[in-house]
């Protein structure tokens, strides 16, 4: 049994399974929900298998179809990719369960193929070993995400989807230009090979600039975040969840990989620039979130703010800082998915999501409000949540390297998060002036939100194991380690 597990190409399975699921649910729309759920249960199992493999045998490199680099496609799994795969698997499972109760038959038939396809693309992205493959998967990811945004129908959703499409294409285009420049300069697209061959030159600088710009656009870093709130807020709740929790992380992952492995080491200026932009995102996103009148917009701006946190690791550069940012990433995924699910529940129950008019949600949907609050706790960075661990590690790195202003940003961001989370909670406790009719919310929707939020809050207790996972492969030792 052990050898069977060890010998299965889990890398491939992780990609093929959701792809197959997407295909099958496209062909049999009537059975799309159960098929989708089965796939959603199988994929985490595959990821677990892969995890076992990586833990036992170390970094995995698999050549698809037997053709290795530089001609074929390689799949590469180290601790970092594994962590992100794990994140996707857990959140994906949650979203799948949630969606099974959310969508009605017709929409579900369109949703499941798109969602599973997106999941496959995401997994492939995390396992890609060369930059062109990254482009392909990124593009596929973007397209399916756009389609999902437009799922809700209505003018707002369509406009947001169009904008998202244009942004996505623009970002990918810039990225592709960078890929082309690098290929032209060094003759290969494989990351490992590029890491050895890259030398500073004008072409490389241009590539760095282009690729970074494109990826930053796709990761919605301030000031290029304008597309995110409309897109995430006007999509249906499960789609918002997967967009905020998973899709934006993909481009960040690519940037991280390139930064750590491909781009030549440079002085601190770029890092500081990214840090400044990240800090601005934290503050701007936080303040804007506080001003919003609608719950889903508030959560979307909260995503903008939380994304800024990840970029604070760039100026700090130590391995502790990277680990902190990644821990924040992981807990943000869980927490944001939970928040959007909670918002979806409230929308379903009350028919609207105006914050001031939240009428005693605490009484009607106690589980949902608990989920929202717990997710908020992780966003604020209160112990013992994963957000706290990430914040602690970043604070530690900031004070250790003497760059105390990032520490200040982290604290202010936490305070802003507390402000907008408790604004919602406060209104949820009190009765509104006008009562609305309430509809029943399926139990599985409430429980999924709660389970994900609990996972985010308890994530801090599992730090030693998760951080040990990140050490496998340890891409953090190159050039920028502290």
């Amino acid at each position: 049994m052990g050898t069977a597990v060890a010998n299965t190409p889990w890398c491939v399975m992780v990609i093929l399974l959701p792809l197959a699921g997407a295909l099958v649910s496209f062909l049999w729309p009537r059975r799309s929900v159960p098929l989708g759920l089965v796939t959603a249960l199988a994929v985490p199992a595959c990821v677990a298998g892969l995890g076992w493999q990586v833990a036992e045998q170390g970094v995995q490199r698999y050549a698809v179809g037997g053709w290795g680099a530089p001609l074929g496609i390689d799949l590469y799994a180290d601790g970092l990719s594994l962590l992100l795969l794990l994140m996707t698997a857990l959140v994906g499972l949650g979203i799948s369960v949630y969606s099974s109760g959310y969508f009605e038959r017709k929409t579900a038939a369109v949703f499941w193929p798109l969602w599973l396809f997106l999941w496959a693309a995401l997994n492939a992205l995390f396992l890609s070993a060369d930059i062109f493959n990254l482009y392909v998967t990124l593009e596929l990811l973007g397209l399916s995400a756009v389609a999902l945004v437009a799922l809700a129908g209505g003018a707002d959703a369509l406009i947001a989807a169009m904008r998202y499409l244009l942004v996505s294409l623009l970002g990918s285009l810039l990225y592709l230009l960078g890929v082309a420049l690098l290929y032209h300069s060094f003759g290969s697209v494989d990351i490992a090979i590029l890491a050895q061959r890259v030398e500073p030159s004008p072409a490389v600088w241009a590539a760095v600039g282009l690729m970074s710009a494109g990826l930053l656009l796709k990761t919605a870093l301030f000031p290029l975040h304008f597309w995110l709130p409309p897109a995430h807020a006007s999509a249906p709740a499960p789609v918002s969840a997967l967009l905020s929790a998973l899709v934006v992380k993909a481009s960040f992952y690519i940037l991280l990989r390139l930064w750590l492995e491909v781009f030549p080491p440079s002085d601190a200026a770029v890092g500081q620039l990214l840090g400044v932009l990240g800090a601005s995102a934290v503050l701007w996103g936080g303040i804007q979130a506080l001003r919003q009148a609608r719950l889903k917009l508030l959560i979307a701006y909260s995503t903008v703010a939380q994304l800024g946190y990840f970029f604070l690791a760039f100026p700090l550069g130590t391995s502790i800082a990277w680990k902190g940012a990644l821990y924040l990433l992981l807990s943000h995924a869980l927490a944001k998915a939970a928040m959007f699910m909670a918002a979806g529940n409230i929308l379903r129950c009350c028919g609207h999501d105006h914050i001031v008019a939240l009428d005693r949600v605490a009484k009607r949907l106690p589980l949902t409000l608990t989920a929202f609050t717990l997710a908020g706790i992780s966003s604020m960075g209160l112990p013992p949540s994963g957000g706290f661990t990430g914040k602690w590690l970043l604070l530690d790195a900031a004070l250790y390297t003497g760059q105390w202003w990032w520490a200040l940003t982290l604290i202010l961001g936490g305070l802003l998060a507390a402000a907008y989370v408790f604004k919602v909670v406060g209104y949820a406790f009190t009765p509104a002036e006008v009562s609305h009719e309430v509809r029943v919310v399926p139990v599985r929707m409430e429980w999924t939100a709660l389970v994900l939020a609990l996972a985010a809050v308890l994530l801090g207790l599992g730090t030693p194991w998760l951080l040990a996972l990140l050490d496998i492969g340890f891409p953090f030792d190159s050039g920028y380690a502290g």
């Binding site: 209160l382 112990p383 602690w392 604070l395 004070l399 250790y400 305070l415 406060g426 009190t430 030693p464």
Partner: protein
């Protein structure tokens, strides 16, 4: 897991588990909920008794869980100081549970209330048992989060505002505390609580950084400990139901802050090291200023609960003052006031709740002749008030004795003036209440009277203040008996100061 390492987790679980279960109980299951509450409280009391016995005989109880890289563990540790605070919390939780059951009879959302109530006690006990700063921080924040739903329990606009202000203060304080903790970790490398201070053992530490860290830590803790100017949330939080005010804002939340300051000065910095840094002097001045300011503000209040809130602001700083005057006798006074103030203040709040619940009386100007209608309640109130003023042989007298003696011993004679002024002010704002209640003629009708036959009010509302008033009398009168809070404070101090 051995008994030694699991006892502390069990103590935490005895309030966590019933709390979680109670969340899911329907409103109508009153008896089950009451049983769970009381069972949890009693079992916790028994376990704490076992722990006290063990600690007194030198037994080590510790639980460690890895939390963060770099050797930062979640540590629960029972030493003499934790025992003091845990015992106080446990005993008073039992009493307050009885009171809350009586007080909330027939109101809404009791399951939610008692669920969060139990979470609060878990957090308080966690704060008491924390073995290093990171664990302390964890439970400290948990305390903030679990008290918020209790403040907004009434679901009125005023409650929401009070909750908002409360959060503003406490989350900001928590953030400052976090920064201080991380910085301390950077500078010192570890912060398990050790007797005589973990920093005292370091050779070359950056003194300026350590002073700045001290300021940050005290600022973060001072929010909950209601040091001026960080005390603004406390009077507003009085909008919560009386059991909440009683336990949490007179005992648990403010005590957690004061206890944190005690831990930081005694077990992180070490008293002598802190004195050599020069931070204890300003801390003493701040505490003295809070004492006087709180008492002055209390003079102006007509609402009974607000007057008591400002009195709390003033009295909790006695603890900080006792710690900040570097000297064993003053430390004893500060530590023992943890217990004494808790017992006295909870009595006063219980009585205030009784007046509000039975007669609809909230303001002192409505309290004419209350002593005739509710003699037992007012008797308990009288004992609590006289204790606050420092009349012997009640609890407050013991504290002021040790604080004054400690001040003389340490050569800080100005503290005596502060204590005298504070006693005078206490008399000025408590004695009029007593006079109005006992010696004025009652009105024809009370604002909102409820009847319980021949008794003055419900049993569940009457017994707790009686018990805590008796405790006030007992801890003062029997101060030299073994196992009294005073003796326990002595025990702690000998460990702290002994070479």
């Amino acid at each position: 897991m051995t008994w030694d390492s699991s006892l502390l987790l069990l103590i935490l679980a005895t309030s966590l588990v019933p709390g979680l279960v109670i969340f899911f109980l329907p409103e109508e299951r009153v008896s089950l909920r009451t049983t769970l509450n009381m069972a949890g409280a009693v079992v916790k009391l028994v376990l704490v008794g076992v722990m006290i016995w063990g600690v007194f005989h030198g037994q080590q109880y510790e639980t460690r869980l890895p939390l963060l890289p770099g050797g930062l563990d979640l540590v629960l540790h029972a030493d003499a100081e934790s025992v003091l605070f845990v015992t106080l919390s446990t005993v008073l939780w039992l009493v307050t549970t009885v009171y809350a059951i009586g007080y909330l009879e027939g109101s809404h959302h009791r399951s939610r209330f008692f669920g969060f109530f139990s979470l609060c006690v878990t957090a308080t006990v966690g704060v008491a048992l924390a073995g290093n700063l990171i664990t302390f921080l964890l439970f400290y924040e948990l305390l903030t989060l679990s008290t918020y739903p209790l403040i907004v329990h009434r679901e009125t606009e005023e409650a929401r505002q009070a909750g908002r202000i409360y959060l503003r203060y406490t989350i900001a304080g928590g953030a400052v505390l976090l920064v201080g903790t991380v910085w301390l970790y950077d500078v010192a490398g570890s912060f398990d609580f050790t007797h005589r201070g973990v920093l005292a053992g370091l050779d070359d530490a950056d003194r300026a950084a350590l002073t700045a860290i001290f300021v940050l830590l005290i600022a973060g803790l001072g929010v909950k400990a209601a040091l001026i100017p960080l005390h603004g949330w406390l009077p507003r939080a009085m909008v919560a139901p009386a059991p909440v005010s009683a336990l949490l804002h007179a005992v648990a939340v403010v005590k957690a802050g004061a206890f944190g300051i005690v831990r930081v000065v005694n077990d992180v910095y070490g008293v002598e090291f802190a004195a050599s840094l020069g931070v204890t002097g300003p801390l003493a001045v701040l505490a003295a200023a809070t004492i006087i300011y709180g008492s002055l503000r209390a003079l102006f209040q007509d609402s009974l609960k607000r007057r008591l809130a400002y009195s709390t602001v003033s009295q909790v700083s006695y603890i900080v003052l006792g710690i900040a005057i570097v000297g064993p006798i003053a430390t004893i006074g500060g530590l023992v006031h943890l217990v004494h103030q808790g017992v006295m203040k909870i009595t006063l709040f219980f009585c205030a709740g009784n007046l509000a619940e039975t007669l609809g009386v909230h303001n002192i100007s409505d309290m004419n002749g209350v002593g005739k209608r509710m003699p037992w309640t007012m008797a308990a109130f009288t004992i609590g008030a006289l204790g606050m003023i420092g009349v012997p042989p009640l609890a407050g007298f013991i504290t002021k004795w040790y604080l004054g003696l400690g001040a003389l011993d340490a050569g800080q004679d100005w503290v005596i003036l502060v204590l005298a002024g504070s006693s005078l002010l206490n008399a000025a704002y408590f004695l009029p209440i007593l006079y109005v209640a006992w010696f004025k003629a009652p009105p024809d009708a009370w604002p909102a009277e409820r009847y319980w036959g021949r008794r003055e009010t419900a049993w569940a509302l009457l017994a707790p203040p009686a018990v805590t008033a008796l405790l006030t009398l007992a801890v003062g009168l029997l101060a030299s008996a073994p196992f009294s809070p005073l003796q326990w404070a002595r025990f702690i101090t000998t460990q702290e100061y002994a070479p």
